[in-house]
Point group: D2
Chain length 255, copies 4
């Protein structure tokens, strides 16, 4: 078992300030009103608070959501929690499942998978670009509770090494090219989830899924609309994320 998740704290301050800090690395953490040393931070109990220049800050153990949104280093567009959560549900991920993924990207969804399949499960993830591969490894090890991720530094177009996988998640530029390889790697009736940003990619992917015998269960986008948490003047935020990606879900038909 990794311990990365135990070494991160999230600091909550005024006006939506949020910062994730690794308390094992001695450093000065700048705040909107002053600063705090990471060693002092480590002394604060979970849910406790401290004061800097008359302003109170709360400190929590960092959770997966905050780690991904506020700490994880990104070289690529990550899979947002709103999308990642729905993909986990649609791929029927639960403890013990064996799941494939390509590309790894910055490792955000790999981390969600790792946290969901637990010690009995396994995640096999493929990333062909070496710098992403290395970054993702670091990002995953920096938080996941479970030692269950196998990272491959190769393209899945060159072959998926595993067989009989419960589910596969695909997030590459031309997903239609990878469908035949994924078909080989999935067990019968295995779940497939694909994420693409454009409508043109959705159309191309749907054609490939039909050709390679996948049942398409859903094409969907998820919108998260946040509200200002003010009980006397309740209203949505002025601005919201308008688009991250379309998601396509299906299951393998036939042998």
């Amino acid at each position: 078992m990794h311990q990365g998740f135990e070494t991160k704290r999230v600091i909550i301050g005024p006006d939506g300030f949020k910062k994730v800090v690794d308390i094992t690395v001695p450093k000065r953490v700048n705040l909107p009103t002053g600063h705090i040393d990471s060693t002092s931070l480590a002394q604060i109990p979970p849910g406790g608070s401290f004061v800097a220049n008359d302003v109170e800050y709360y400190v929590f153990p960092c959770d997966t959501f905050d780690y991904v949104m506020h700490y994880l280093k990104r070289h690529t567009q990550i899979v947002y929690p709103k999308d990642g959560a729905y993909i986990l549900m649609r791929l029927d991920i639960s403890p013990g499942k064996r799941v494939g993924e390509a590309g790894t990207g910055s490792g955000a969804f790999t981390l969600y998978l790792s946290m969901a399949v637990g010690n009995e499960g396994k995640v096999y993830t493929y990333e062909q670009r070496e710098e992403f591969y290395k970054l993702a490894e670091k990002n995953i090890k920096g938080f996941s509770k479970f030692d269950n991720v196998v990272t491959h530094n190769k393209s899945i177009l060159d072959g998926i090494e595993e067989r009989d996988l419960d589910a596969f998640f695909l997030d590459i530029r031309e997903p239609e090219e990878a469908i035949p390889e994924i078909r080989k790697a999935l067990k019968p009736a295995g779940h497939l989830g694909i994420l693409v940003p454009t409508t043109n990619q959705v159309a191309e992917t749907l054609k490939a899924l039909e050709e390679h015998k996948f049942y398409v269960s859903e094409v969907v986008e998820i919108l998260a609309r946040q509200y200002k948490p003010v009980p006397e003047r309740l209203r949505p935020d002025d601005r919201m994320i308008g688009h991250t990606a379309y998601m396509i879900f299906g299951r393998k038909i036939g042998e």
Copy 2:
């Protein structure tokens, strides 16, 4: 370990036809074009198909999503997968966590929780109305892979028996009344998720959370927008679910 999930099959037919069948119960299953016996259905391999009156039907092992949406008996409004998935993410649920819930309702979210915390985790759920309590028990046992749910037939206003819970999910009519009890049951910095259908309830709940020292991390609604899976004429469905519920997330502050 339960085996409920192994005994359900989902049949996929033309024009969006979808039906979940328990193959251990001998019965005739009606289809848009004819019928099939559940015993014949049991012989079809995962991802296989059969033909009824010249129309092909596909058969898959039932997943959690299809079980909740197309099989589970409902006496109450259930927590939809789009919302349930996001709640699991925001409550930071993973294998091994100990989670509380009230009310159980028809048990849909209890089932998501059970499937997410696995054999090492535990779900404690409270439901005061006896008929829902019994229905939920049946719904959960009919599918969950894990024997990890403790059901209480009582109101949480009469006290939560557990302590030091990692997270709590609240889905009752007047959530503001239950906040003090939940505060006692949660561990320091524990996660709280609340689901309510109306804006008035959001406002009341926010007031109670402030009073009882919870940090509110997010007030949000999740919209899932489905597309017709036709590559040459890609477009969203004509109608969509416009509203299920608002969700409020927070963490316990102080001891």
Copy 3:
């Protein structure tokens, strides 16, 4: 000036009941709780009410919105008010403008245009299918206050007869084919609005607009989300219109 709009009444009843009636046609109007004769209806003052079997009904002069949504005969998908309103704004329609349209369809948007450009303005509308052409004429004359619509029973691919139009609204299956003709009919810097249901059509239309020198100012969809008007339990409707159409707006570049 037509008088069609003066002869229609809308009856509002319990549980969202709404019915538009022509009071010049003697008939019995069925209600959820009984009925009323159109001649009796004609006697009720604007904003007045009547009682049928102990239930109160309100009567208003019919407005454009109710006429289009609850009276106008449809052979085609109409332009919804939410979209029509935005198109009027984006095409900069005001009294006195000369505007072209194709196809007329059932005439809903033609009616919005007629009501917006007034006595000093003019609307030229093209519809090649004779049955739609006739239906639309009847629909428009049945309500518009202004005698300002010229209907053509022909395809615009065979030529637009007018020149120097302020704006053009295009709602046909393959809009990309009509762009060159519209270019000839519009005045310099004239406004163009196009409505299409699929993403594939948006892509094709954008290509044609670039080729034929139109500046694209916006590609947009409009979502209207309704709420239940209950002050103590304020919340959106359970279901909503998920999609009607995408809209593309532009202006003619060069001479």
Copy 4:
């Protein structure tokens, strides 16, 4: 007739650059790549273009949308075109109508109204804060084609001077207080539209409408979702306006 609208030009440049310029005021207009004098700009025909440092810019006569979004001076939150367009439709505004409004704010919706009711119509608008009143007058005269707006520098709580209005639009902080005055000013069955930013205000307003005998036809919010106009990679913008306001529509019941 005013001529304000004839003196404004909109310049369209690369990366979404858009600027509205008054060509009667000699000045140097800064661009992303250089500049142009407003006097040179005045020579460019509608839909024409000019080049600044190898980059092409297009020039159009300014329309109402661009004037409101890119020129009009704001001291207040304005009514966005997406909302304004729908309000015009729901209030059944057409040439010749007599319409009231409060408060005037920066005059954006007053301008929409002025442009919609034309020479035969009339707009009566109330604004109690003198600096907004003056700003709005300037904003309206700077563009509207029609001399049809009467501005009052007073609160409508002190009385509306007009009677028998076709419609009224209300955009003040506590709309519930103004309902009785509006009731007096509207003709029988007259249309009322109210805009409020928070859910609490929606609830308060609904109570007042019921008390003062208005039929509520709709409570709604309008979302405009923009797409990047790239045919090969069609997708919505990353960010969108998440909320402007809720709108409530109704009609006066009884005398």
